[in-house]
């Protein structure tokens, strides 16, 4: 590489002396490279980086499957059967989750404890960072010991070292911390600490024998080395079929076992969403490069005199290309550094503003791999936008211009063709991204129109965990709930208060089997519905309409009336053509781990409520049964209040109202469920993944539009300057300004139409990849395509109008004189 040092020095000087050009290029690159680096850092941190478990490819989550009803969590007795009969797993572990109150000097907090079976740490293949896992003796005897997560240690206990050996007050009992897990470890994701399953309090121990319990647990298995997945599935299905025969009441039909990679459970659809984003930012980078090629071509033409002089002074073509490449490399280097800064800032912003939108997000950062990626992208970019113009302007024909006095300066047909191709391709790429963003926006709009079935405005909620000891008796629990509702209801600004076991959008739910009389023909004999227990004011507080009959009343709260309300979906499933009022329904007590779990609850339908989207707006509607909460008092309850104005402002007063009833109740916390939360925040949380993808895609698409339009503007302006003499001559020969305006706009229109047509074809080919992100919108939605084409056309017209106007205002005398 002869003269590389000299080329570098001169290139740096040249760029320094042209700050406008340099800043424009570096900013463009920073945007393109930064967006790519940011998304890649997410992919690297979330998808590519190994999970914090030994040999994670051998880790699987295991659950029951029904051919029609889908998956369900397995009970502890089922787990024990699996562990006894299976030979495919090196270790198989059960984790039972239970919400507990962690009492600390500076206030209480709700945490979820994972009660784990003995092989848990061997199964996940991770030991504590500090301290130890449980001793065999501790696991057998159920000693009050815990291994805690690194984040809990950091957040509340002064760090891992300080936490080790500390004694916690958990659920009213003393628990000693014997280990702290490494940062980033958290399986299941909800667990803040882990304890031996034998240490479950006596009141909860029924879960260990309830074969019909299918909530709040996970089973994780580590496959034995060399065991194929097919073999495991075959073996587990055989076991499931045997259990179905042995326990028909609990297992009939549940003849299959799902064995899915643990990574899939932990990642959800994050990988797919990130890959779509990476594709998007790659297109954005290509648009940036196309713009830079155009800019470099224009600059190359301006510099052709200098390059020709260099050739005349003895520079070989290789040397001229080298010099131009060195310049683009320097620019790419600066763009790469700026891009890394942009990426770091962007990822930091994402971490702060939407901490839960992606799994493992807090572990994402710019590591060596990400920086290497940035370097490769910067290098590739420099070649992409440097090489083509360098080869073009260093052609002997270009350099020979000097020899004939440069009389033929201007653009040749070949150059013009290249520019056309470049402009059309960036308009087409922008069209593809805009259509993608448009489809997501349409989905968002469709979703906005989906009624939740209740009015979320002004609602605020708190999950109330009853402290223990002291609230083991259902009567005492009910009394506590009643007093809490009363106290909160007395806060000025609160219009109504209600209680329910599971509030929509909080993620909590429980299914119950239902038996109904007079069901319509063809309806299955056994089926299920969401088990909802509510206080009398629930429908009014939530503004859920009662469509027929009446809602639940204060008088129904006594055990005697047996009144139940069902929702519209329930009626449609069981009595589509009959009046449901007065019909008998039987459900089963669902509060675990109470001793009466599974007991029959007979009732009579007194009303039909409107349907509610329980998990998110994208849900299918599910049958629901509402009972008075007094008939099966829950161990924890969701208190919900409707406020007159901004509920966020009332939260301090609501906290005081709760603590005045029971000072031991946790009313603050880190997570969304650990303190008061407005329904608006809960709704935002359910929409977060969609919002994340849509907002980013839209931002990238708008940036692409801006880039494409700037590119179009640049090229048209350049062409106007190039054709100044021709325009001057035409005007001297009698052309009107309008003719010149039309002359320039025609080129622009041609490119725009070509870009829209090509972009439409590209979008039709690519949109199937985002189909899974769409909601009730076809990937080929014609409205979106037409609107995007119109927007692109309009913006392109505006961008062309400025240089076209300049052409129209050309003074022919001045132009021709300057010749």
């Amino acid at each position: 590489m002869t003269g590389l040092g000299q080329d570098l020095r001169y290139a740096a000087r040249g760029l320094w002396r042209r700050p406008g050009y340099t800043v424009a290029v570096v900013l463009t690159l920073a945007l393109g490279i930064g967006a790519n680096t940011a998304v890649f850092s997410l992919i690297r941190g979330i998808v590519l980086r190994p999970l914090p478990y030994a040999e994670p490819e051998r880790l699987f989550s295991v659950y029951e499957e029904h051919p029609q009803e889908g998956p369900r969590l397995a009970s502890y007795p089922t787990f024990l059967d699996w562990r006894r009969d299976s030979r495919s797993f090196e270790a198989l572990a059960f984790i039972r989750g239970a919400t507990r109150i962690l009492q600390l000097r500076d206030g209480s907090e709700q945490v979820i404890a994972g009660y784990v079976s003995p092989e848990y740490f061997r199964a996940v293949g991770q030991r504590p960072l500090l301290g130890r896992a449980f001793l065999e003796e501790e696991e057998r005897s159920g000693a009050p010991v815990a291994v805690i997560s690194n984040s809990l240690a950091d957040r509340r206990l002064g760090g891992a070292a300080a936490a080790l050996g500390a004694t916690l007050r958990l659920g009213g009992a003393a628990v000693r911390v014997v280990g702290v897990m490494p940062p980033g470890f958290g399986y299941p994701a909800w667990a803040a600490l882990w304890m031996p399953i034998a240490s479950l309090p006596a009141a909860d121990r029924s879960v260990l024998s309830a074969r019909a319990l299918h909530t709040d647990s996970r089973i994780v298995g580590r496959l034995s080395p060399g065991v194929q997945l097919d073999r495991v599935r075959g073996e587990m299905n055989t076991i499931a079929a045997r259990l179905a025969r042995a326990y028909p009441a609990e297992h009939e039909g549940w003849t299959r076992v799902g064995v899915a990679p643990l990574a899939a459970e932990l990642m959800g659809d994050a990988e797919m969403r990130l890959l779509i984003l990476q594709g998007t930012v790659l297109i954005l980078l290509v648009i940036c490069c196309v713009n830079l090629v155009n800019l470099a071509l224009a600059r190359g033409l301006v510099r052709s005199r200098e390059l020709a002089v260099r050739a005349a002074l003895g520079a070989s073509r290789r040397r001229v290309v080298q010099q131009l490449l060195v310049e683009s490399l320097l620019l790419a280097l600066a763009g790469g550094v700026a891009g890394a800064v942009v990426a770091d800032w962007g990822v930091g912003l994402l971490k702060r503003s939407a901490p839960d939108v992606l799994p493992r997000l807090q572990e994402v950062g710019l590591d060596g791999w990400v920086l290497a990626f940035t370097a490769v992208v910067a290098l590739a970019t420099s070649v992409a936008f440097g090489l083509l113009p360098a080869l073009r302007v260093s052609r002997p024909a270009m350099l020979a211009r000097l020899a004939d006095g440069g009389e033929r300066s201007g653009i040749g047909p070949g150059r013009s063709r290249l520019r056309s191709v470049l402009v059309v391709s960036e308009l087409a790429l922008a069209m593809i991204l805009l259509v993608g963003a448009g489809l997501l926006l349409r989905s968002f709009d469709r979703l906005e129109r989906v009624s939740l079935g209740f009015d979320p405005d002004g609602l605020v909620t708190l999950r109330v965990i009853t402290p223990s000891p002291g609230y083991e008796e259902p009567g005492r629990v009910l009394e506590l709930y009643r007093r809490l509702a009363e106290s909160v209801g007395a806060v000025p600004g609160v219009r109504a208060v209600a209680l329910t076991n599971h509030l929509p959008l909080t993620g909590a739910s429980m299914n119950t089997q239902v038996e109904v009389d007079g069901r319509a023909a063809g309806v299955e004999t056994e089926s299920s519905a969401l088990f909802r227990t509510v206080s009398p004011d629930y429908f009014g507080t939530m503004r859920i309409p009662i469509l027929r009959g009446r809602g639940l009343q204060r008088s129904d709260m006594s055990q005697s009336t047996g009144a139940v309300v069902v929702n519209q979906a329930f009626v449609l499933r069981y009595w589509p053509n009959a009046d449901p009022i007065g019909r008998r329904v039987t459900v089963f007590k669902s509060v675990q781990p109470r001793a009466d779990f599974g007991e029959r609850l007979d009732g009579t339908v007194v009303g039909v409520a409107g349907d509610v989207r329980h998990f998110s707006q994208e849900d299918e509607l599910a049958p629901e049964v509402y009972l008075p909460y007094t008939r099966n008092p829950p161990l924890w309850i969701q208190l919900v209040a409707r406020t007159a104005d901004d509920p966020e402002r009332l939260i301090p007063a609501l906290r005081r109202a709760v603590l005045s009833v029971e000072p031991g109740l946790p009313v603050v916390g880190e997570g969304l469920w650990q303190g008061f939360a407005t329904m608006e925040r809960l709704l935002a949380a359910t929409r977060a993944p969609r919002t994340f993808s849509s907002v980013l895609l839209l931002a990238f698409a708008l940036t692409a539009l801006l880039m494409a339009v700037v590119g179009l503007y640049g090229v048209i302006s350049f062409l106007v300057v190039q054709r100044e003499r021709e325009i001057g001559v035409r005007m001297a020969l009698g052309a009107r300004p309008a003719d010149m305006l039309a002359l320039v706009l025609r080129s622009s229109l041609r490119w725009c139409i070509a870009g829209i047509v090509t972009g439409t074809a590209g979008a039709l080919a690519l949109n199937r990849y985002i189909a899974s992100l769409l909601f009730e919108v076809s990937p080929n939605d014609p409205v979106t395509f037409v609107v995007v084409a119109l927007i692109l056309g309009a913006v392109a017209a505006v961008a062309s109008l400025v240089p076209a106007r300049r052409a129209a205002l050309t003074d022919p005398m001045r132009t021709l004189r300057s010749e």
């Binding site: 002869t2 003269g3 000299q6 001169y10 000087r13 040249g14 002396r17 005199r305 200098e306 020709a308 002089v309 260099r310 050739a311 005349a312 002074l313 003895g314 520079a315 070989s316 073509r317 040397r319 002997p396 024909a397 350099l399 020979a400 000097l402 020899a403 004939d404 006095g405």
Partner: protein
């Protein structure tokens, strides 16, 4: 030193072919100071480009210091340019971003002269052209005459055997022009072959002979072919 036989240069313009140079026969001996003259569009600069190995799209035979240029690929022709030829332009064509010193250094770096040796040659050239005090100035900080002086110094710094000059005094006032022509005469006396293109009879008088070009044909001067109009 060089001999052109039946050299032609043309452009395809639509269906027709436009000739810029027609059947050029020309011999220039080592140590000559030759002037090419003719009206605008006669093909003077094109001929200079061919002599300087910058233009490769001609036909005919061209021998240069014993090498058959017409048989050489463009890359080899660039090598000949590097070894033997220096260029002076009417508009100086100094590189705006480089100082006087760096402008002089450029041809040497293209000839792979080592940095130390380069510094010595540039220093000596600055001295010879009395420009030591201006070595850190940029072209925009120099007068036209000074810029052309740098242009000439840059053209001769690699000690070319042939100096090609395209209207070297076209942008200078008469005193500056005379200075440059005196310089050319001195260089020629020291052994450099010079071919200049000029409109000025006065400048032509500094040379040994004049070649007249018209419409691409040589109409006067040694080896002149017969014009079709004559």
């Amino acid at each position: 030193m060089m001999e052109l036989r039946d050299v032609e240069r043309s452009y395809q313009t639509g269906p027709t072919r436009t000739y810029v140079l027609r059947r050029i026969d020309l011999t220039i001996r080592e140590g000559e100071f030759v002037t090419i003259m003719g009206p605008s569009g006669a093909g003077k600069s094109t001929l200079l480009g061919i002599l300087g190995m910058l233009d490769h799209t001609w036909t005919g035979e061209f021998a240069f210091v014993g090498e058959a240029v017409h048989a050489l690929p463009p890359k080899k022709r660039v090598e000949l340019n590097k070894r033997y030829i220096g260029f002076v332009f009417q508009k100086y064509h100094l590189i705006d971003d480089l100082t006087v010193y760096e402008n002089l250094e450029i041809p040497l770096s293209y000839r792979d002269v080592k940095p130390k040796e380069r510094a010595a040659i540039v220093g000596e050239t600055l001295d010879r052209f009395q420009m030591v005090g201006k070595k850190d100035l940029y072209p925009s900080q120099l007068s036209g005459g000074q810029q052309q002086l740098v242009g000439v110094a840059r053209a001769v710094i690699a000690r070319p055997r042939l100096l090609l000059a395209d209207e070297p005094t076209g942008n200078l006032h008469s005193a500056q022009g005379e200075e440059i022509m005196e310089l050319f005469t001195r260089l020629n006396r020291e052994g450099t072959t010079i071919v200049q293109v000029t409109h000025s009879e006065k400048n032509a008088s500094y040379g040994h002979r004049v070649i007249q070009l018209r419409d691409g044909w040589i109409v006067a001067g040694e080896s002149a072919a017969t014009s079709p109009s004559s």
